[in-house]
Structures are given as structure tokens and as C-alpha cells.
Symmetry: C2
Subunit: 166 residues, 2 copies
DNA sequence: GTTAGGCTACTCGGATAGCCACTGTCCGAGTAAAGTGGG
DNA sequence: CCCACTTTACTCGGACAGTGGCTATCCGAGTAGCCTAAC
């Protein structure tokens, strides 16, 4: 049970993108520099987010990424599913019917209890992730911030944010 | 996000072991044959379960494994943690302070909101797994069983179960 | 001066190597049971 | 006949290769802006 490191980068990137003004975009290079990670690798996950409908891509020079919908409508679950894929962590291989003397097929119409219990726990996990939006994280951070972090982010955004025609 | 295949094998093995009588043991070879998996590989996970205090090992000829405590006291979470390890799936690399212009350290005393949210979801996931015991799975299976599965398991157990002195 | 055309440079996108963990396997240490010889 | 020792064979335990996916990277497709030159 392990999540890729890209998930953290993706969440931080989306959180940063939620702070830019309407119509502004941020390049992958800027995001990577701010977070101190590889640009090419971050690009891979930004593409996944774009494919998942979370980010909107602006091509060409002065291009970059921006949120495809308001931060209130983007949950942690959306990001995790876009980056890690929608497949469940637990995969039932039906080993119960792989023995030398399997039971009749009629017992296997329903998935086994073990798989059901594991998948149920995973649904609870995803439901919990779906409760938290990017906007929630921003508001939460603003409460404990005396202005230093906000100032740092704003300075970075003003330095790298780009206004696009469309 | 992916769980190893060994988790499924481990859960099924523990469920099978919960069906044998007091003082009886089952060899890893028998468990592997019943489930149609590699004996050597299943041994790896049975060792993990033994190290986690879930199974009790009986060495020597006519040896094998048995539950270290009643099935009512063994949860799915215990098995998952024993096989996959106790480390959380989400690992915060603190990329927020890896940029070229990190904020003062005093903001990093508390873990970041993102990590907190992800770990909270994981706690919920684990809590859900902890609700289901092996005994629950057995009782649940008995409800939909007309006796065929129970007969098959009993036949296999009587064929391979071993009584030990201790 | 205006405008159309071409060019440049910068961006994202997909295809390509490298590395680590999971998968699968093997041989050795340990032990209970059976066999054997003596008392 | 009983007992203790030796042998045996079977079990688990930890150490050893193979493979798939995550990590990291590179080069190509596409486009907005800029420069140039003609009108």
C-alpha cells in the first residue's frame, strides 16, 4: 500500500493554481521551481490532471495551466483518482475458486465477502477524501497564517503569473 | 495506490485457519494447494503474519500454523498492517519547504494541511478495516451458504488438519 | 504608417531509459517422530 | 518388554533472482508573439 510521490506534487500544484487570479495561468516550470521538483516529472502529473478535467491547458508561449473549475469543486479524491488511476487498491484475484476442487460456479456469482469488505473500506476512504476541497485547504491555511505565507505565494504568483487573451 | 496480491492470500489463509479445531494446525503447503498459489510465496506472508502476532508457528514435522488468538480478535486491519507494513500510504515529502525561497521554519512545526487531510482519510480507512473481524466474515459466509462450501472446507480440513501435542 | 507574412522561441505532449519494490524461488536451520539397539 | 539414542524426514525461516510499475528524462508537435518587409 503505497501512493506515488506524484500525488503530493499534484495536490500542492493545484493548491498553488487556486491562488492565481481569473484568467491567469502558471507554467509547469514555475510550479516545479517553486516546489523544488523535476519539471519533466511534474509535467507528467499535470497532464494527468488535465486529462482528468481538473486543469485546463493553455498551449503556446506564455501558456501554462489553470484550474478547469472553481477550487470549491475540486476535491482531493479528484486529484488522487486522476494521478493514481481509478482502479481500486485491492484487487480480488478470486483465489477461492483456484484450488484443485473448486466449489460450483453459482457460489461465485456474488463477490466474496473479503473483497466486499476491502472495497467497502476503500469507498469510505474515498468518501473522506471527497469531503475536502482545495478551497477548504486554502481557508484552513489562512487561519494559521499571519500573512507571511500568503505574501510569499503572492510574490511568486505576481512574478510568474501570466495573463492570457483567452 | 496498489495493495500487493499477498494481502488477499493472507486473509483467505487466516479465514481458513479460523475453521480448524482447537489445537489443530495447517501446513503452508496445504494452504497454498487449497488456494492454488505458490507455496514459497505464501510462506513469506505467513511469516509476516506470524511476526505480527496473528499466527502461531508450530515447527518440525506435523507442524504448521494456527491462529494466535480467537478469530473475533483478528481484524482485517491487523492482517493488512502485518503484510503491507505499518507505514502510511501517503508520505509527505515536505515539498512546500523545498523551494528556492522557503518560508521560516516556524511554519513547518505543524504538518501541512494536505498531509493532515490525507492521513485523516487513511485513519478512516483503517478504522473501517478494523471493524471487520475474521469471525464476522465466517458468520457472513455461513448465512448465504447452503452447506456446500462448509462441507468442502471441512473435508479439506479433515484431510490436512494435524493435531499437535502442544 | 499599416498590415500581411514569416520566423522565432517558448510551451505542452508523448515516447523513452533507470531504479525500486513486489513477485516468485531456492536452500539451510530446527525439530518432532519413527526406527533401532541395548539393558 | 522398556528405554534411550540415532536417524530421518518434514517443517518453517531467511537469503537469492526476475519482473512490473513508479521515477526521471528527453525530443517532437503546436502556437502566441515578434520581427520584417512590402504596400
Amino acid at each position: 500500500m503505497k501512493l506515488g510521490d506524484g500525488v503530493e506534487q499534484a495536490i500542492h500544484s493545484v493548491a498553488m493554481l487556486s491562488g492565481l487570479s481569473e484568467g491567469g495561468v502558471l507554467s509547469a516550470a514555475a510550479l516545479a521551481e517553486f516546489h523544488g521538483v523535476s519539471t519533466s516529472y511534474l509535467l507528467k502529473h499535470l497532464q494527468a490532471l488535465s486529462g482528468g478535467g481538473i486543469l485546463h491547458t493553455v498551449p503556446g508561449p506564455k501558456g501554462g495551466y489553470r484550474l478547469a473549475r472553481p477550487a470549491e469543486k475540486i476535491t482531493l479524491l479528484d486529484i488522487v483518482l486522476a494521478v493514481e488511476g481509478p482502479a481500486p487498491a485491492f484487487r480480488c484475484n478470486e483465489i477461492r475458486q483456484r484450488g484443485p476442487n473448486p466449489a460450483p460456479d453459482r457460489f461465485f456469482a456474488k463477490p466474496c465477502n473479503i473483497s466486499a469488505a476491502m472495497l467497502k473500506a476503500e469507498r469510505v476512504y474515498r468518501a473522506e477524501l471527497a469531503k475536502t476541497t482545495i478551497a477548504d485547504l486554502g481557508a484552513e491555511l489562512a487561519e494559521i497564517d499571519d500573512g507571511t505565507i500568503a505574501a510569499r505565494s503572492c510574490a511568486f504568483l505576481e512574478l510568474h503569473e501570466r495573463r492570457t487573451a483567452r
